[in-house]
């Protein structure tokens, strides 16, 4: 069961990251437009945050790793999206006034709004690898399966959000839904560990 939960969390975090990234473009458009460099800024910050998250997640996995802590990482990523929901618009307005250049303005705005949640999401995959690998011989297989689940989750998150969710729900409603699912899944991992 903990194994399944590891894969589930990794897959969901992949879904979550890409859904938030797509909606990030939506959130920035009223302030910075939908120029190609606005998308460039968003993708840059997501990639940067993920890469640093991988590094940190690997490090963090060296000290008494547990499924519980994996759940906490997911909850942290979700909670870090809350400021986007609450202060997103004033933050974007303030950024565009202080940095009028839409390239660096959107880079700064994407950093402020999305760096922290994406960083936590990045921590999840390497951390889950540590929980799944029991011996060096099967480590590649586990890592491969984990990449599969996580990137498949990203593909699903991208497709569902851009094809369907934006047709049904408002941007903030989608974010809130993602957030609730993340917290629920994270808490499930935390609770399960307690029982074990």
């Amino acid at each position: 069961m903990p194994v399944l939960l590891c894969y589930l969390i990794a897959g969901w975090s992949g879904f979550f990251v890409m859904a938030v990234e797509l909606l990030g473009g939506r959130l920035l458009a009223p302030t910075f437009g939908s120029s190609i460099y606005v998308w460039g800024a968003i993708i840059t910050i997501f990639m940067l945050a993920l890469s640093l998250g991988y590094l940190a997640g690997g490090r963090y996995s060296m000290h008494s790793p547990s499924v519980r802590r994996l759940g906490v990482l997911l909850v942290a990523a979700a909670v870090a999206v809350l400021p986007v929901l609450i202060w997103g618009e004033p933050m974007l307005d303030a950024t565009s006034i202080h940095v009028p250049d839409p390239r660096f303005g959107s880079l700064l705005a994407a950093t402020v709004l999305f760096f922290i949640p994406t960083f936590f999401c990045g921590m999840i995959s390497p951390y889950a690898v540590r929980l799944l690998v029991t011996e060096a011989g099967s480590s590649g297989r586990h890592a491969g399966q984990l990449y599969f689940v996580s990137t498949f989750g990203s593909a699903a998150g991208t497709l569902l959000t851009s094809f369907y969710l934006v047709l049904i729900l408002e941007v903030n409603q989608i974010l809130l839904t993602l957030l609730i699912i993340s917290v629920a899944l994270g808490l499930l991992a935390v609770a399960r560990e307690h029982r074990l």
């Binding site: 458009a29 009223p30 910075f32 437009g33 190609i36 460099y37 839409p102 408002e170 941007v171």
Partner: protein
């Protein structure tokens, strides 16, 4: 000349192609008709067209309807046009209203270059071009306390109007940017599921508006009350001579102002939070 090349003479010919940050900007010509397109062989829509023998004649019908805004506001001193294309609208407005100051906002520098090279569009003391996203320009203009008597919304990518230029919030910003009694004219499509959503969104911001419909639909709304049919008729005489030179005829244009609301009033309003415009545009109804 090969047979294929000979037949291409009567088919449309690619005069110019230029890759930009956003797309490929292409200029095609078929006999005297020259068009700017963002898709190969103008497969999806033409951005702008010009008759090279009579550059002052409007080719696309929507441009005539856009000029109908002069029946509502005959002497605008300051004009903002979002979306340059081949520059048909600013070129015409600069000729009809030589004193007016015209700001054009165009996101794509390649479009500005192509308009100058192939569509006889030129900046001057009275016609300025800013290369910027339309919404970003509007927000900055608001912060700079600028106001316009006439605002024309004509920003299209290869498919349709970008989604962040269709929302209630954007239309409110545009309304705030109008001087007292100012007028906004917007070029939109008249079919697809999006029609209902766009209509209720404009209605939520401007109340009633003129709904001019042919192949396209042009919305003409005002900051303040709309003029009566008699006033429109009287105003149509003011620039009649100049407008006739462009092929704009009051007898054809005036009846379009009588268009009645024909959309579903219960359609969902487009907002910054809910604007799946391009998805809605996929389905014809």
């Amino acid at each position: 000349m090969t047979p294929a090349a000979a037949s291409a003479q009567t088919e449309q010919q690619l005069l110019h192609s230029e890759r930009s940050l956003y797309r490929e900007v292409m200029v095609y010509q078929k006999r005297d008709l020259r068009c700017m397109c963002f898709t190969r062989n103008c497969r999806v829509g033409r951005q702008s067209c010009m008759d090279v023998r009579a550059p002052d004649q409007f080719v696309l019908n929507y441009t005539r309807m856009m000029m109908g805004s002069l029946y509502v506001k005959p002497q605008p001193q300051s004009i903002l046009i979002i979306g340059l294309g081949g520059g048909t609208l600013p070129r015409a407005l600069a000729q009809i209203l030589p004193q007016a100051v015209i700001d054009v906002v165009e996101i794509d520098p390649a479009v500005v270059r192509v308009a100058a090279a192939y569509f006889d569009f030129h900046v001057s003391d009275h016609v300025r071009v800013t290369e910027m996203d339309g919404r970003v320009f509007v927000r900055r203009a608001l912060r700079g306390e600028r106001r316009y008597d006439l605002i024309m919304l004509d920003a299209f990518d290869h498919e349709y109007i970008p989604e962040h230029l269709l929302t209630q919030e954007f239309l409110r910003e545009v309304k705030r940017l109008l001087a007292p009694g100012g007028v906004v004219a917007a070029n939109t499509f008249s079919s697809s599921r999006l029609y209902d959503h766009e209509s209720v969104t404009y209605a939520s911001v401007y109340g009633t508006f003129f709904n001019l419909k042919r192949e396209n639909r042009v919305i003409i709304a005002a900051e303040g009350p709309l003029p009566s049919a008699a006033v429109l008729q009287a105003n149509s005489a003011i620039h009649a001579r100049e407008l006739t030179a462009f092929g704009v005829d009051a007898e054809q244009l005036l009846p379009l102002f009588a268009g009645r609301p024909d959309w579903n009033p219960r359609a969902r309003i487009l907002t910054d939070q809910y604007s799946p415009a391009n998805l809605l545009n996929l389905g014809d109804e």
